[in-house]
Every structure is written in structure tokens, then in C-alpha cells.
């Protein structure tokens, strides 16, 4: 068995207040360690707050930032952590990023590929989209655990583009993590949990776990930025699409869930969707569409 205890830190970050947010992360990490967690997952932009607008460049951090590395030092001996912040790149672009902190180091950084810029969202105005979708292998835990886990990270909107978790799973992810800053909207008794955003995310996350036959861990924040009230509802879903546990809506919580990564192998034997995925067919058809949209002749070589 490859067991890991996940701790989903459903926190309420303070907009733009990095010192407070680093404190919150440090405390949650300590609490998760005391509870026996192997991996603590924090929400999207948990270190900076979400509705930053022109604050984004002012709170942005490089991967080498001393504060980030000080937080990483707290992962020596476990648990590991996934934290999210505005990342400034060498060429001065800003990204919504999530980093894996493990054994005292910043080990892997995922950048948000899909920046919603519609309705209540205006992310593309302030941020650049990531251009790589990569899974990684990580221990996820301290010296008490053995082996590595295939890990794929998406940031909020990323999972609404199903190619992204599909690519992460093809690239080796067994555990798909989504870190989110999902604002509540669409309060109505007509939908699950009385909230449109909770209902649509609930459907999406179960479908994503089922279609990728992977564990899905979703950490969504709570609290308020300006007009937005974040709904929480963090949850862990098994590779069969069954919700294993779920945090309350709108309240801070540290949700603990034990998973066994060997379940992923069994699920994929029973339902070999990933094995049967035809990457070359997908690439060929997308290639045709890309060429057609650009009004170019189809390039049979690609």
C-alpha cells in the first residue's frame, strides 16, 4: 500500500497581506503535522489573496524568494506542502503559480494555464498564462513514507479545460490536485448544495476523477475579497469518482483524508481509459483544426 494522508487547508487569506498569509500557512502546516498529514494543500493565491488587481506586481515573488524558502524549511521531516502565490519570472511576467515544497526545498512549480477573463473574472489583464502542463514525481511526506507519487497540479479554471487534467494524467499523475479561489455565485435552491458554483464544481471534480481514473484533491479557499465570497467545499475524490470527504461551505477547515495510491492502479485495470486514449488521433484532429482556423494547408507531417 502507498498510503498518504492529505490535509486540505481551507483557509481565508487576507488580500495583499503576505505577512499574515505566511503566518496562516505556517500555523496550518504545524497543525497538519500534528494531525499526521503527509501533504498539506493550500488554495490558489493563498499567500497573496486573489482580487489583487494592481497589487499583483507588488506582492509577486520569485521562486527563489527567501520567504518561500523559509516556509519550505518547515517541510523538512514532513509534511510536504503545495502553496500558491503570484510568481514573477525572470522576464518580468506574472503568473498564478503553485509550488511543491518538500524536504526543505521548492521542488516543482505549476503555472495556471487558463486565466478566466469573463463575467466576474479579470485575470488575464493582470497575469500571464503558463505554457507548460507537466506532472512531477514527489515523495509527498517525510521520512516515514516510502516511494514517490505521480502528482499533477492545476489551478482553479485549469480543470474547466478537460485537456489539462487529461494531459497531467497521461504524463504520470495519479493524484490530481486543484488549488482554487472559487467565488460563490448562483445561489439557488434549484441546484446541489444551494449554490451554482458548488454544484458545477462538484460535477466537474467527480467527472475529472472518473475520466482520469485518478485521485482528485480540491482545495478551495473561503473568506472575502472585495465583492467576492469564496465558497470552500474542499474535497477528495477517489479514482472511481466517489467523494471520500468534503469540507463545509464558507468555513475555515483542515480536512484530512487518507488515500492509498495503489487504488489508482486497480481502478485503471478495471477501467483502462488512459491506456486506451489515442493521443495521436487527438493530435491529428487538433492539428487539422489549428491549421483550418489559421486558414493554412493541413500539415500532414505534424
Amino acid at each position: 500500500m502507498r498510503r498518504r494522508v492529505l490535509a486540505l487547508a481551507q483557509i481565508a487569506p487576507v488580500l495583499g497581506d503576505l505577512r499574515r498569509n505566511f503566518d496562516i500557512h505556517g500555523h496550518q502546516l504545524a497543525e497538519a503535522r500534528a494531525a499526521g498529514a503527509d501533504l498539506v494543500i493550500f488554495p490558489e493565491l493563498g499567500l497573496t489573496g486573489y482580487q489583487l488587481q494592481d497589487l499583483a506586481p507588488e506582492v509577486a515573488m520569485r521562486r527563489t524568494d527567501a520567504r518561500l524558502h523559509a516556509l519550505a524549511k518547515q517541510t523538512i521531516g514532513g509534511p510536504s506542502a503545495i502553496v500558491s502565490f503570484v510568481e514573477a519570472s525572470d522576464d518580468h511576467r506574472l503568473f498564478a503559480a503553485a509550488a511543491v515544497l518538500e524536504d526543505g526545498e521548492v521542488r516543482h512549480v505549476a503555472r495556471k494555464s487558463y486565466l478566466p477573463t469573463y463575467g466576474l473574472f479579470d485575470e488575464r489583464r493582470f497575469l500571464a498564462p503558463g505554457d507548460a502542463i507537466r506532472s512531477t514525481r514527489a515523495v509527498l511526506g517525510g521520512p516515514q513514507v516510502t516511494g514517490e507519487v505521480g502528482l499533477g497540479i492545476g489551478i482553479c479554471e485549469d480543470f474547466w479545460h478537460p485537456s489539462l487534467p487529461a494531459i497531467l494524467a497521461q504524463d504520470g499523475a495519479e493524484l490530481l490536485v486543484n488549488v482554487a479561489a472559487g467565488p460563490a455565485r448562483g445561489a439557488s435552491l434549484d441546484v446541489d448544495q444551494g449554490l451554482g458554483s458548488a454544484a458545477s464544481w462538484g460535477m466537474l471534480l467527480r467527472a475529472t476523477a472518473s475520466l482520469t481514473t485518478s485521485y482528485v484533491a480540491f482545495t478551495n479557499r473561503v473568506g472575502v475579497d472585495e465583492s467576492l465570497i469564496f465558497w470552500g467545499g474542499s474535497r477528495v475524490i477517489g479514482p472511481d469518482g466517489v467523494v471520500l470527504c468534503e469540507a463545509p461551505l464558507f468555513e475555515e477547515a483542515l480536512l484530512l483524508a487518507e488515500i492509498d495510491l495503489d487504488e489508482v492502479g486497480r481502478a485503471r485495470t478495471a477501467l483502462p481509459l488512459l491506456r486506451d486514449e489515442r493521443l495521436e488521433l487527438t493530435r491529428r484532429e487538433y492539428g487539422r483544426l489549428i491549421a483550418a482556423r489559421a486558414e493554412l494547408p493541413e500539415d500532414g507531417a505534424t
Binding site: L15, L55, A187, G194, G223, I229
Partner: protein
């Protein structure tokens, strides 16, 4: 379509989970009080359902001891409204202040060049802005912050006085239709007589919103919900059985009041300008 039918249809379409929405509004209030650093919330309490609901939500969010309800009647305010406001104050056990604004209102109106011919609407707008002036002073006196009480229905049709009752530091109920306000008020225990009486801006004796506007709130809410939330063209709304003249009038009220829902435009002259490309959160932290 009978009023009862319209009301039950609106209640069905706009049904919300009262416990959850109350929790949302309360966390919104608590977060904004905290981010402003205010010690108290100052609320203009009219005796109507909107301000009563905000009083209950605020008391639940930060404690009734941090809520100051301010009653600001004019000579035309109804005695029953004052009684209802006092019931809210008694039920919640919050602080209150009675600051009648009839004397300053009459004095200000009396100094105008055409004092004798001021219309009831202008008088009502001036009363609303004197209440705003009073509330902002009380918030300064009490280290408080002024909370808004406008609902989504009246905000969308522009049934408010710009820089009067529309002015506030933040508004926890401005995205709830009147139908939803009624449901939420019932859910959190606002006294029945406040929920059931006809909504009124109390601009003159016997005035009601529905009488003045020529609509009933349930139908107004159903039409607004279609035009705004569901982005339906008005012909499609009419095709569902709503009266054409009413739908067109509501759509027109929404169109004509866009300016009331926005900050005034600032002429852009320089390189970086408030409102267009200088865009910060309302409160900036001091930390690095």
C-alpha cells in the same frame, strides 16, 4: 396574473437556502468591518424590511453591541415605521440614536430660490442625502462604518437616491431581489409585520413602492431575473407571458439608471488614472 400567483412563482424561481445565504452575507459583513478597521457599524434604520434585515445580519455577524441603528424621521415619516424600527432595536438589543431630520430639511429647502415649488421627489432626494450626511457623521463619531441597505430590485431599476440611500461603505444585500430579501428576513427572524407590510420609501404619507412604480415586486423580480441574470432579450421575456408594456418599462428603467450603479467617470488626461488604469483593492495592507 394574480398577485398571489406572481408571488409564489417568484418565490419558487428565486428560492435560496436561507441559512447559507445568511452565512454568506454575515461573512461579507465581518470581513469588511475587519478590513476597514472599524469598531462599529452604523445603519440607517427606517422600519422597512431592507434595513431591518441588514440589522439582523450585522448583529449576527459582529454582535449587536457593535451595531448602531440611527432613526432619521421627517415630518412625513409614518409613526408605524418608527414603531417597527424600535421593535428591531428592542429585539436585537443594539444601540440606537434618534436624529430627526425635519428641521434641517425644512431649513435647507426654505433657503432654495424656488422653495415653494419643490416637488415631493426632490424633497425625498434631499431627505435621503441628509440621512447620508448624518450617517457618515455618526460613523466618524463612533469609529464606525456605514452599511448599505439597497436591494437588487431597486438598484437595478434605479429606485434610489444617488449619494443618498445608495451611499455606503459596503452593501451585504445588494445582490438579493426583494423576493429573496423577504425570504431571508423570514428565515432569520425579522418581525412578521415588517416583512408583510407594503414596501415604502416613506417619501410622503401612504406612499408605497409598488403604487408609485406601477408594478408588484414579485413580477418586477421575475422580469429583472430574466433580463439581467439570464440575459434574455425582452421579446423572449414577453413571449413567456409577461405584459409587454410592463417589461418595456422595466427594461427602460434599468437602461436609464446605469449611471447610478457606477462611480463617476474621471476625464483621463494623465498617464495613470483612478478608475481606469489605477486599480487597487479598497484597502491596502501595510505589510510587505
Amino acid at each position: 396574473m394574480s398577485d398571489d400567483h406572481a408571488r409564489s412563482a417568484a418565490e419558487r424561481e428565486l428560492a435560496i437556502d436561507g441559512t447559507m445565504v445568511a452565512a454568506m452575507c454575515q461573512s461579507f459583513i465581518a470581513a469588511h468591518v475587519s478590513s476597514t478597521g472599524a469598531e462599529r457599524v452604523v445603519l440607517g434604520l427606517s422600519g422597512g424590511i431592507d434595513s431591518a434585515l441588514v440589522a439582523y445580519l450585522t448583529a449576527a455577524a459582529i454582535g449587536a453591541d457593535r451595531l448602531i441603528a440611527v432613526l432619521m424621521p421627517t415630518a412625513s415619516s409614518s409613526p408605524s415605521a418608527k414603531r417597527d424600527a424600535e421593535t428591531v432595536i428592542g429585539e436585537l438589543g443594539c444601540q440606537s440614536e434618534l436624529i430627526p431630520i425635519e428641521a434641517p430639511l425644512a431649513a435647507l429647502l426654505g433657503t432654495l430660490p424656488e422653495a415653494a415649488s419643490v416637488t415631493p421627489i426632490r424633497r425625498g432626494n434631499m431627505a435621503a442625502r441628509l440621512r447620508m450626511t448624518t450617517l457618515y457623521d455618526r460613523s466618524a463619531a463612533h469609529r464606525g462604518v456605514v452599511i448599505g441597505t439597497g436591494n437588487k430590485s431597486e438598484i437595478l431599476i434605479g429606485y434610489s437616491t444617488i449619494y443618498g440611500d445608495a451611499a455606503s461603505a459596503f452593501n451585504p444585500i445588494g445582490d438579493l431581489y426583494k423576493t429573496q430579501i423577504r425570504a431571508l428576513a423570514g428565515h432569520i427572524g425579522v418581525p412578521r409585520q415588517i416583512i408583510e407590510k407594503a414596501p415604502s420609501a416613506d417619501l410622503w404619507p401612504g406612499q408605497t413602492d409598488e403604487g408609485e412604480g406601477g408594478f408588484d415586486y414579485p413580477t418586477l423580480d421575475r422580469v429583472l431575473y430574466r433580463i439581467v441574470d439570464r440575459r434574455m432579450p425582452i421579446d423572449d421575456v414577453i413571449a413567456e407571458g409577461f405584459e409587454r408594456a410592463l417589461v418595456e418599462r422595466i427594461a427602460d428603467m434599468v437602461r436609464r439608471s446605469e449611471f447610478k450603479r457606477q462611480m463617476p467617470p474621471i476625464a483621463k488626461v494623465g498617464g495613470r488614472s483612478s478608475g481606469s488604469d489605477y486599480l487597487y483593492p479598497r484597502r491596502r495592507p501595510n505589510s510587505d
